[in-house]
Amino acid sequence: MWRTLRVRLVVLRSCLNCICHVHCACAVWCARTSCVADIISTVEFNHTGELLATGDKGGRVVIFQREPEDKLQGHVRGEYNVYSTFQSHEPEFDYLKSLEIEEKINKIKWLPQQNAAHSLLSTNDKTIKLWKISERDKRPEGYNLKDEEGKLKDLSTVTSLQVPVLKPMDLMVEVSPRRIFSNGHTYHVNSISVNSDCETYMSADDLRINLWHLAITDRSFNIVDIKPANMEDLTEVITAAEFHPYHCNLFVYSSSKGSLRLCDMRASALCDKHCKLYEEPEDPSNRSFFSEIISSVSDVKFSHSGRYMLTRDYLTVKVWDLNMETKPIETYQVHDYLRSKLCSLYENDCIFDKFECAWNGSDSVIMTGAYNNFFRMFDRNTKRDVTLEASRESSKPRAVLKPRRVCVGGKRRKDDISVDSLDFTKKILHTAWHPTENIIAIAATNNLYIFQDKVNSDMH
């Protein structure tokens, strides 16, 4: 099914601080240069899939909204347009430690919608912020004591009373900071996750996990702390953490040694002792100097059903059953041909890249990124897999993506790409899947690609 993915929309960000929505992208792509601040660092759909948020290295958040179905007859449903953009984090300098704090957005998480407004959490290395995104299409007019510009009137001119009225105006999207959760982390925040109780969330850094109440900014509770008394004994760090989608007491965190720890907050307030440890014994035949580095988990995601967990390490994605700790139930090779290149990848630091992974809406397909602007999809039922490429050449609007193949041995078919010509600077680290439909968002350095499944779109 996903073999016939369609390009529905290509959106790109430019260096000029403006956002362009491009239907026919090519001309614009070439005209603009890219800069580091535009590199997308996170992508996240909201719970309905109507909104899509991206964060970048420049601290900006851009929100895309899906066009409503009835609007604009000529357009097919599914196109995402820029809805709002705002500066979430600014670069800071810690004078006490003489450290720069980057403005890069590490993660964005949407809160379940409670009223007409939307809310999201965004975080950089240290500070988490809660933002409210609301629409306004009316404004009050006819105040008794204030004039149009909000200045107080001269009271002597007020001779009669009137009732203020709401007048329609152009739609305005307002983004306002609601809470700033600072000073909770000494190390770099790598994950945030909103609890299913909708009241609390957790934030994880390299060594600790804190639990916050969404309304309280001046204190958090430390629920996991793996910092050893002596830093010389440090051998393991926390790489990602997430709450269970239904059970508000359960959360999982992954480590740089390749293990997952499931914790129950009912057991004790400080969850230093996990209740389940998911770990796969190392395969001795694949042992190398880099075994530990490549087994470091870069992302962990609960399935929508809450039954499985998906983890990504450097070379594979694995599906774990919550009920089985000894080994994953499925392991998929993302780019096994890199196994013989680990030494080079270590030297150029690529081996430390943190790839994310995603489930589709029905938990039957998983997706993750790779190098050379390739991304991979694995069908859990049929065991088929596909490599697709997010590039402007292949992504003209409504073009069908062709599966790509990396050839390892001597036999090379037409259109195959050899392992040696892979571009390791073009990596797809961040991907997101629409919560119910087959729409995916792929962040390839400073470009965002949104693809939609052809079968799905024809049904609409």
Partner: protein, 259 residues
Amino acid sequence: MLSRGLKRKVIDCETMTDFSSACDCNRNTMPYSHQRQLVLNMCLNKLQNYKMLAEPNLHRSVLIANTVRQIQEETRQEANQLPGVVTDSYKDWNSENNVDTLMEVSDDDMSSAISSILKDLDFMEDTSPSQIPLAVPEDQPKPVDGGSKAGDKPDLKATECMFGSFEISSSTSYLKDLSIDDIFDDIDTSMYDSDFSFSSLVSPRTASASEEAQKMFSLYLNDLDHIMEILVGTPPPPLRCMFCSVFFFVKTFVLYGYS
């Protein structure tokens, strides 16, 4: 030379310009101990360069430090084994290349490099007043206060660590009661004394040995420049770890210049 009698695709080696690719490329032919040495050198380089980064990355440094620890552990185990228990391929390769001993950085160097890096991280992160867990019973969640308070234990410890790294002799015995010669004794550079050089791995088709020598020479000149940069532009705490790498490079440079 290593390249003798080896089938190797020309195209592979032309595109590969560094030791690591050579390691990947010669995985089946290069003796394990030399692969290990390559990896170790890379690790130590990374740990050293890491100090110059504006944004320290704990995850990355821990992974690198663990790799060094793993190599260190292997070396220790080998050292405990009886001498003479060496694999055949290794012996053959050694005799071909006149390498008598393993080229190794000593245990102490590695330990001190790791601990210095990790300690410095502690110093950098933890003297911050930001995260102050209050004294609460173990089972209770620790409230993390937004403001700053003084006098809790983790902070005191961090301060000790900080001073610990200022004082060269305090934490490890490295450099404590050694003369300069002893330090050099610690660092085995036999690999550079031998005919074997990394450039032979990288460019097996290079014509003359003198060309290669020149290449290596300028390579180490660059290294030396780099080290001087680090020395000039670095604050005191990392110096201890820096020393081992500096001596390592300086000595190899000098030896190569004479040979």
